[in-house]
């Protein structure tokens, strides 16, 4: 009962905000050019969905995002494992990684344009570069932090190196890898939007930019809302995936 009351309070608050916005925009107390009323934004969004205009850019953005992210996750997990399992590799590579990691991923956009032009490959390369770090570092951490007791168990059971890797190291690193992949997915969405805006490729990001250039603000807001929904959906999807893959761990720590 109390929870129901609280939930309805939250809904009422959100609805009140939107209603206030609606009234202010209709009375033109705030400029409808900059802040179009929520009903116009939702109308535009509904129009795009009904007319099927939203799907092509959504698929284009999603496709590039997913390719870059998948590439980054696989490469990041593999490289992280390779570095994590070898002390020498760590000593040789860690300083370089420390330098590359804080580099803003969008800063490689000009470099990628120089090499690959305004192409899908350029976008995917940029996304992969940006999204690889959280996965790589997560994987590295996961493979380094194997409990000594587990290593003893592997020795006692006389596991071969391959068996120890598959049965002990990978399950140990998986939570870290997945956590990294989740951060990487959010980065992928941001970078997909960045490259679309900078390199004018069709997609949700470019739609927002074009809407702004022609002052079609309901369309602009509709685009932002769509991106927000996409951001929410992908985050939610990977949380579900994490729960399934890590079911053996029991309750989340």
């Amino acid at each position: 009962m109390k929870r129901l009351l609280e939930a309805s309070g939250a809904v009422l608050f959100a609805a009140g905000l939107l209603l206030l916005w609606q009234i202010l925009a209709e009375r033109e107390l705030i400029s409808p050019v900059f802040f179009p009323s929520p009903s116009r934004t939702l109308g535009e969004l509904w129009h795009q969905v009904v007319q099927g205009l939203i799907w092509a850019p959504l698929v284009a953005t999603g496709y590039r995002m997913f390719c870059g992210w998948a590439l980054a996750s696989l490469a990041g997990a593999a490289v992280g494992a390779a570095i994590g399992l070898s002390r020498a590799a760590r000593e040789y590579l860690e300083p370089l990684l420390e330098f590359l990691r804080p580099l803003p991923a969008s800063a490689v956009v000009p470099v990628a344009i120089l090499f690959l032009g305004f192409s899908n490959a350029m976008t995917i390369a940029v996304i992969a570069f940006g999204a690889i770090w959280p996965v790589l570092l997560g994987s590295l951490h996961g493979f380094v932090s194997i409990e000594p007791q587990l290593a003893d168990v592997a020795a006692a059971l006389k596991l071969t190196r391959a068996q120890a890797f598959a049965k002990i190291a990978v399950p140990n690193a998986l939570p870290d890898i997945l956590a990294g992949a989740r951060v990487g997915l959010a980065i992928s969405l941001i970078l997909a939007v960045v490259t679309e805006m900078q390199a004018s490729q069709t997609g949700l990001g470019q739609n927002i930019l074009l809407a702004q250039r022609s002052f079609r603000s309901p369309e602009l807001y509709a685009g932002v809302v769509t991106l927000g929904i996409v951001g929410f959906a992908i985050n939610h999807a990977i949380v579900v995936l994490e729960r399934r893959l890590l079911r053996w761990r029991g309750a989340p720590a």
Binding site: E6, S106, Q198, L209, L227
Partner: protein
């Protein structure tokens, strides 16, 4: 010493291979300019003041946005942290805004503010406010209840309760959020410049790339990498051993 040597081995080898490969004519000069040319371009851009100016523009926008985000995030976080009812009412509306990628707002801020410092700082602030807000709410909620009871017993007014009890007790964890926000701020500022704002290092790289001056572009990229690395190293050093006013024991 051995660690430094090993860490430097691969970067130095890459640079040497790159330079010699380029001199032997094996690498395309229009995309991979020589390290020596990059160094020359960097020295030149440093001397003529273009890199210092661009750096200042980027850092200025990052810091302004960060400051706005820090002030808003801490204030809102303290209020929401102290009142669970309010947090449950307002929280979902805030959660709905959070997944919006900050760069998606660049066209909107351009419409509102035009090109320049203000639009860039606004986007930096939007991106940076989330870590500060979430960490502050959690930190305030985690304050030892006895401290708040003391404040009540002493009949402290809200401002002095805030200043004497809440902020010092929450500081250790809030700083973690601020640290994350600060490293995000530089990245977002550069991103906004790359996407559209004609100022700062990000824009400088785009211009260098489009006017086919790869040496200048790489010089700025490396400089940016150095800035990010320096910022992170500094933050680790400063915040690494900081634990709020009541010591680490009070924080859960």
């Amino acid at each position: 010493m051995r660690r430094i040597l090993r860490g430097a081995a691969i970067p130095v080898a890459i640079l040497l291979l790159w330079e010699s490969g380029s001199r032997a004519g094996l690498l395309p000069m229009d995309t991979l300019s020589r390290p020596s040319d990059v160094a020359a371009a960097f020295a030149h851009a440093l001397a003529d003041g273009s890199i210092p100016l661009a750096t200042w523009q980027t850092v200025q926008a990052a810091l302004l946005g960060f400051a706005i985000a820090a002030a808003t995030g801490v204030l809102a976080g303290v209020i929401l942290g102290l009142s669970p009812v309010l947090e449950r009412t307002v929280g979902p509306s805030i959660e709905a805004l959070r997944p919006v990628p900050a760069v998606a707002l660049t066209p909107l801020t351009l419409l509102l503010f035009g090109f320049g410092l203000r639009m860039e700082a606004a986007i930096v602030a939007f991106a940076c406010v989330w870590p500060v807000l979430l960490v502050t709410v959690a930190a305030v909620r985690g304050i030892e209840p006895r401290l708040l009871e003391v404040a009540q017993a002493l009949r402290l007014s809200f401002p002095s309760r805030l200043r004497k009890i809440i902020l010092p007790a929450a500081l250790g964890r809030v700083l973690v959020g601020l640290r994350v926000a600060l490293s995000i701020s530089l990245i977002v500022a550069v991103t906004v410049e790359i996407v559209m704002n004609p100022r700062g290092l990000g824009y400088g790289m785009i211009v260098a790339s489009q006017s086919l001056k790869p040496d200048l572009m790489y010089a700025q990229l490396l400089w940016l990498g150095f800035l990010g690395w320096g910022l992170n190293a500094m933050l680790t050093r400063v915040f690494g051993r900081w634990h709020g006013a009541f010591g680490p024991g009070v924080q859960p």
